[in-house]
């Protein structure tokens, strides 16, 4: 067997030109990825985007149709799963039901004939604070405990690469937070390379050093969480990683530092460094928490973009912040998050407002114009209400 030794530290993972086709569809098309040793890397995407397939390819549970997989510089493409220095924490945990917890954790060590498997297994269980349950069966443990056992069963082998397949998906919010923290601590302690697959953008952002957003079998954008959030490259990233207000228009002018875009008669300015395209049809955007509301038209200023006037459609209070949905004729709806610091204006549904944001907070996407409105008209509450009323009126008229 190839893997007898404990990995001293994590190893690089490199995917080169990976393609995976299943009968009838392509799960992954031409994926290139390099994960440096010791990092916490998250693959983020909606279900069906190919992220779990990518993980299974790395684990050796699927074979790529094309491309190469390198771990620590060694080509493992044709190496079978049990010969790869990789361990997985499965989404379903997959703890062996016919073995006790300690037998589960010692399983991998015994297969590699590592000295004192039971002692090391106890050590790993102590790390996840479950050593007192070592003699139990998996069915007797709660979901959170099973998850920790699955984690112990993987890290006890000191793999060069640890794969996490949405391992926190089945946990409730409080346990999730606790496990996220624990995972991060363990990663820092043992220094392994983590590859984490998740559809939870918050989880990816809080835990990973690097996040890759996947969509339809390809990586849309990759980078540090703050960087991805601050400067999304595509509409998909802008909307999947948090929420965004997007406006499509035509570039009407540009200076050395800024690009001006005409959006339905309003001129919006984006810093040139933050815009991926500098001419033609473009989409620009801003995060909702960067937008502020005004009850009166703000004085035109070179460093602020102003959109309005519009009418407040919906106000929802969520403790630390309040979300306003503003309908601006010609621009669709604008989402505004206001911190409840007591300093902003208080507005209610139906009020006339202007929204504005600092030019430096805007971003320009690489996608060109967005074809569809983000909030299609018949989805908005007013439209539905109007439709209902019309229906009722028609019904009464008939009757």
């Amino acid at each position: 067997m190839a893997v007898r030794e404990f990995a001293e530290r994590g190893a690089d993972l490199e995917l080169v030109g990976i393609q995976k086709r299943f009968p009838g569809f392509t799960a992954i098309q031409d994926l290139d990825l390099k994960i440096p040793a010791g990092s916490f890397f998250a693959l983020l995407g909606p279900s069906g985007c190919g992220k779990t397939t990518t993980l299974r390819l790395v684990a050796g549970l699927e074979e790529p149709t094309q491309g190469r997989i390198l771990i620590g510089g060694k080509d493992v493409t044709s190496t079978r799963s049990h010969e790869r220095p990789v361990n997985t924490v499965f989404q379903s945990y997959a703890l062996f039901p016919h073995m006790s917890i300690i037998e589960n954790v010692a399983f991998g060590l015994k297969r590699r004939r590592i000295a004192d498997p039971v002692g090391k297994a106890h050590e790993a269980l102590r790390l996840v604070e479950l050593d007192h349950l070592a003699q139990r069966r998996p069915q007797q443990l709660s979901g959170g405990q099973q998850q920790r056992v699955a984690l112990a069963r993987a890290i006890v082998n000191r793999p060069a690469l640890l794969l996490l397949d949405e391992p926190l998906g089945a946990l409730d919010l409080k346990l999730r937070r606790q496990m996220q923290l624990e995972l991060k601590t363990i990663q820092e302690e043992v220094g392994l390379t983590f590859l984490h697959v998740t559809h939870d953008q918050e989880e990816a952002m809080t835990m990973a050093d690097t996040v890759a957003v996947m969509n339809k079998g390809a990586i849309e954008q990759m980078g540090a969480p703050a960087q991805l959030y601050d400067l999304p490259r595509t509409v998909f990233v802008a909307n999947f990683l948090g929420q965004s207000n997007l406006f499509s228009g035509e570039v009407v002018g540009s200076t050395d530092t800024a690009v001006s875009v005409d959006v339905g008669g309003t001129r919006l300015v984006v810093p040139k460094a933050r815009a991926h395209r500098h001419n033609g049809a473009v989409t620009v955007g801003v995060r909702p928490e960067k937008v502020s509301l005004h009850i009166e038209a703000p004085a035109p200023s070179a460093d602020r973009n102003v959109v309005g006037p519009g009418r407040v459609l919906d106000v929802s209070f969520s403790g630390v912040s309040t979300q306003y949905l503003v309908d601006v004729p010609g621009h669709g709806t604008v989402l505004v998050f206001a911190q409840n610091t007591g300093s902003g204006p208080s507005v209610g549904v139906g009020d006339e407002v202007w929204s504005s944001w600092l030019v430096e907070h805007g971003f320009g996407l690489d996608d060109g114009a967005v074809e569809t409105d983000r909030f299609p008209a018949d989805d908005s509450t007013t439209a539905i209400a109007a439709q209902r009323r019309d229906d009722l009126v028609a019904e009464l008229g008939e009757g």
């Binding site: 067997m1 799963s81 010969e83 997959a94 062996f96 297969r111």
Partner: protein, 303 residues
């Protein structure tokens, strides 16, 4: 063991008391049935096994007694048949398991992607039941008789000696038993393997177990309920079988099993106490063997 732990840890909610009388009423037909058709014959069999010949009576006339000697007599007279029965049954069970496991694995696991093939193969496993097993065993007698195509060809190829027989040998009897009980082995194996969660196998492979170790450490233990059920369904009837070993079918004078001896004592020699004593011995032996087997196989965790 874990099963016991469960029941003590989480106290089973007690059924409401009110319904206990109704429950008893609903159980009554079942209890009556068991008393009438199981308990009564069993007691009658026990009494018969202890009977003594009627003084100055005819052959086949017995009176109730407490004649323990019957057991000693049949044990001394028929101990080779007793041993042979369990030997043949064990061999047939092992062969049926070796044959059925790959078959059941293919139907239950490999063929999961093709449900049509899965159902077709299941039908094929069950199909022999549509024909009486007596007919099927007779057909095998024909196929394996000295003049048959199979045996003459084997002789022509010098794979069998010129004077060799197949029918009438222990091999033929074990072959017949194996053949007849394969569906009883395959079906329970199929039901457990069909539910086998392949993610456990992937987890095993992820934890450095090669395919053989995955099979030995994960697949086999997880399919243990099917293995136990299948071996019991094969071993118990095979040990008492009297068709395959009979001279009229695949057996010969040297292959007689307990079933044949019981049949002969009951129908030919009219020695009812001996037949009854043998039946009781067969039952007791199977009970002990099965009890030890189920205990040893440790399937309580999975049942």
């Amino acid at each position: 063991m874990a099963f016991a732990a469960f029941t003590t840890a989480e106290a089973q909610p007690q059924a409401p008391r009110k319904s206990s009388r109704i429950a008893l009423l609903l159980l009554l037909p079942g209890i009556l049935y068991l008393v009438l058709f199981f308990l009564t014959p069993l007691v009658s069999l026990l009494l018969t096994s202890l009977q003594a010949p009627l003084e100055y009576g005819d052959i086949g006339q017995y009176q109730y007694a407490f004649n323990w000697q019957n057991y000693v007599d049949v044990m001394t007279a028929y101990w080779p048949h007793i041993l042979r029965s369990f030997g043949y049954a064990l061999a047939a069970t092992v062969f049926a398991l070796l044959f059925s496991y790959p078959l059941a694995y293919f139907i239950g696991v490999t063929a999961r992607r093709w449900p049509l093939l899965q159902s077709l193969m299941l039908v094929l496993v069950i199909a022999p039941f549509f024909i009486s097993f007596l007919l099927r065993t007779l057909a095998w007698k024909q196929i394996l008789s000295d003049e048959s195509f199979v045996i003459t060809s084997l002789k022509a190829l010098s794979l069998l000696g010129p004077d060799a027989h197949f029918t009438g040998t222990p091999f033929a009897v074990i072959f017949g038993l194996t053949y007849n009980f394969i569906p009883f082995m395959t079906l329970p194996l199929y039901t457990t393997l069909e539910r086998l969660d392949l993610r456990y196998l992937e987890a095993g492979s992820d934890l450095y177990a090669n395919p053989f170790t995955v099979f030995r450490k994960i697949t086999i233990p997880l399919s243990m309920p099917g293995i136990v059920a299948g071996t019991l369904l094969t071993f118990i009837p095979a040990a008492g079988d009297y068709v395959n070993a009979s001279r009229d079918f695949l057996g010969g004078p040297d292959t007689q099993m307990m079933g044949n001896v019981i049949e002969a004592n009951f129908l030919v020699l009219l020695n009812y106490p001996a037949a009854a004593a043998l039946s009781i011995i067969l039952m007791a032996a199977i009970l002990v063997l099965v009890g030890v087997y189920v205990k040893r196989s440790g399937t309580e965790d999975l049942l």
